[in-house]
């Protein structure tokens, strides 16, 4: 492999978008070429700088205004309903069929898992125990759950553990173990299941990515707005522990 080829592949390499063989070829070249290593370091430095910029959060008044809009559209619909019963029948029937088709597309648990994730971020109740130490997070669940969830830190591969909390999914208390990837939060929900092994399943709902697997009598659901590739990398690493 020559430097020109590597330069072409360097961005997808940094972004983990390169197929395994191509990535291996880049890695091999990098081990022998100081110039390309420098190019890689520059690219990674640019990425770090951009990611270090403060995030622009939506101002509260914008949130209030657009939430107000949704409320308004609801009351307008009710008004229309009183005005014309025929319109009511059509619009409600339409709305129900839309809601139902959205619900049947993902199964109920995925919906609950994504809800739990969104709730934790919007209510800013992400942690009951805040710690990057697995030996603090794991014992915290003792006595609060009738099972002991496996807790591991993945900081070594860029997914630091940041804490845990109790969560309720499908009417039962479950463990939520929280990881961070740059500015993205990953919630891993864990609860016991009958002894079955399920390989990694990839799903997505409402703009969030979900990874599900089961092993050693535990069911795992990882949910985040992180991109597909990195969430799969995270899930595989967790599976391997």
């Amino acid at each position: 492999m020559i430097c020109d080829d590597v330069q072409r592949d360097l961005d997808p390499y940094v972004d983990r978008e390169l197929a395994a063989e191509a990535a291996a070829a880049v890695r091999e070249h990098l081990s022998t070429c100081a110039q390309c290593r420098q190019r890689l370091a520059d690219r990674e430095a640019v990425g770090r700088l951009v990611r270090s910029l403060p995030y622009y959060h939506a101002p509260a008044r914008l949130r209030a205004r657009v939430s107000g809009r949704a409320q308004q559209s609801r009351s307008v619909r009710q008004l229309a309903a009183w005005a014309a019963a025929a319109v009511l029948v059509v619009s409600v029937a339409g709305a129900i069929s839309l809601v139902r088709s959205a619900a049947t597309r993902g199964n109920a648990i995925v919906g609950d898992v994504v809800d739990a994730h969104v709730r934790s971020l919007m209510a800013e109740h992400l942690f009951d125990v805040r710690s990057t130490d697995q030996h603090t997070v794991k014992p915290w669940f003792l006595g609060k759950l009738d099972f002991s969830p496996p807790v591991v830190d993945l900081a070594s591969i860029g997914f630091p553990l940041v804490g845990g909390r109790l969560e309720y999914v499908s009417g039962r208390p479950v463990a939520a173990i929280v990881y961070q990837r740059q500015k993205h939060t990953i919630n891993v929900l864990v609860w016991p299941v009958s002894d079955e092994t399920i390989g990694l399943k990839e799903q997505a709902l409402r703009g969030f990515h979900v990874r599900h697997w089961a092993r050693n009598g535990m069911s795992f659901w990882a949910v985040s707005d992180l991109n597909d590739t990195e969430l799969t990398q995270f899930a595989r690493a967790l599976q391997d522990r």
């Binding site: 978008e17 430095a45 700088l49 622009y56 500015k183 703009g207």
Partner: protein, 176 residues
Amino acid sequence: MPMPARLFEEIVLPHLDAAFNYARWLTRDHAEAEDVVQDACVRAVRFFTSLRDDDARAWLFAIVRNTWYSRVSRRSDAGEALPLDTRSADPADTSLDPEAQLLQQHAVTRVRDALEQLPADFREVLVLREIEGMSYKEIAAIVRVPIGTVMSRLARARDRLSAVLKPAALPVERMP
């Protein structure tokens, strides 16, 4: 058929921060970004039949982007100048000592300015990739270009940014 309020709350509101951050980088202006996101939400309610169940964030980003570009083209048709940037400084991190705060402030301002100076096509792919962590496929769908174009724009965006930041990049690099 407008989007039911419940779906709006479930699908759009969770991505409001991300939509605003993206709009802020597109427009480079706080008030403009607010207007764009608000308009985009109105459009989202109207056009939600185009939403597939699993891609709400990318769907909303595409609407934000269309909203912004249709405003820009309306304005240039009318011969209006684009608004000046009236950004205010971000509050400093008070957990640092004053010198480190100054240094950090300086670094943030310099990186932000450099990113804002990039052409819009380059700036947005960098923001979508580095800040929003989106895949090439997701970015391609939002920007409506082939994946290969996303890749080459990212490469050129990073080249430009590192060229601008490099001469004095060392103090920044030492920051934790």
